[in-house]
Symmetry: C2
Subunit: 198 residues, 2 copies
DNA sequence: GTCTATACTTGGATAGAC
DNA sequence: GTCTATCCAAGTATAGAC
């Protein structure tokens, strides 16, 4: 099955799995190699440094995920759609362990300062994506006069990240669901106000 | 000046300063000892393990801070007051480096799994504090029918944490200020709706 | 490209003298 | 309580044979 995957890909596979299972702390050249049944020296041959490998792993995970996000968000016409789409994507991310990988790398980029700027640069496209979706969802409503899509997008990404981290820390996934429920009610209220106003 | 401070206190001082300056990654028994002009072995004599020292440092920073928060929030009667108080406290935290210490320890608690549960337990009082303030601020308004103070408190703490981390990573403090501006407008809108509804 | 072996560094922690 | 000296584990990374 994985036997004929190129070594470089197998290293990335093993890296993502190690991040998911053992966290950033447990992700070293040695543990990655052990999990992937690979020789440790191959990592340095193919990627040079561990940091470059971690970034390569993040890039691959993000690329696969971004298409999915863009497609799902294209279909969301208003704020109420968007909330449902966001809740679904969050659940998928959680299931697939993408959330774990992201949280671990963000936390790790504080721990490993040389990683910081690279991680930040890779988050910008996600903020842009959120901004576009939000801009479409609130266009022509009174909310548009109240907040900049850019600020809301940043807040949303920050909130997502904070919830990830706290959830990661105490394993309580129910609270994320409560938040989506709050979002639902807020968007319902918003559209009621909107209908009453116009 | 600091000469007659007990050694245990001096170790905690040096730990907090190291977390602020060098981050979690740069905080080891050796770096703490060097910064504090202390002998490395003293750390283990007084605290046993590095983790216990980090938790002791967090406890001291939190204790000093919590009184200040409780006092400031007691004076906030409604949501508009609360936003102003929150913005002021955030700026103070930023200035004093409390935000750095907290972010580093949260990130570090993902990196150092044995730290995780302890850090989570120490965040709960802050969520409770936020919940109480929010409950008072939205009591008797239509918002109370829309969301649970508990959910909003969790979201707020998560947002605070996420903003901290991103700010920490890219050094852009302006965006946090934009968010307080958004909060201001939302609370103004909220009280306008409230006045119109009652 | 892949392997073994190893150099080098840093960190947590302890033993034992003072 | 404080110091010096040291052990041991784990990490990144490279040299050199195959």
């Amino acid at each position: 099955m994985t036997g004929d995957r190129p070594t470089k890909e197998r290293i990335i596979d093993a890296t993502l799995e190690t991040l998911r299972v053992d966290g950033f702390a447990g992700t070293s050249a040695r543990t990655i190699a052990r999990r992937g049944g690979l020789n440790q020296a191959l990592i340095f041959y193919h990627f040079g440094t561990i940091n470059d490998l971690l970034l390569a792993a993040l890039d691959r995970a993000a690329m696969e995920r971004r298409e999915h996000y863009e497609e799902a968000m294209r279909d969301a016409a208003d704020a109420r759609d968007l909330i449902e789409v966001a809740a679904r994507l969050y659940r998928e991310d959680l299931e697939a362990g993408h959330i774990t990988v992201l949280s671990e790398l963000i936390a790790g980029s504080l721990t490993e300062p040389s990683l910081g700027p690279e991680i930040v640069a890779r988050m910008q496209p996600w903020i842009d994506l959120a901004e576009g979706a939000i801009a479409r969802a609130i266009e022509g409503t009174f909310v548009r006069e109240l907040v900049q899509p850019r600020d809301l997008a940043f807040a949303l990404v920050a909130l997502y990240l904070g919830v990830d981290l706290l959830t990661q820390l105490d394993g309580d996934h129910a609270r994320a669901e409560s938040l989506f429920e709050v979002g639902r009610r807020l968007t319902v209220t918003m559209s009621m106000l909107e209908d009453g106003a116009d």
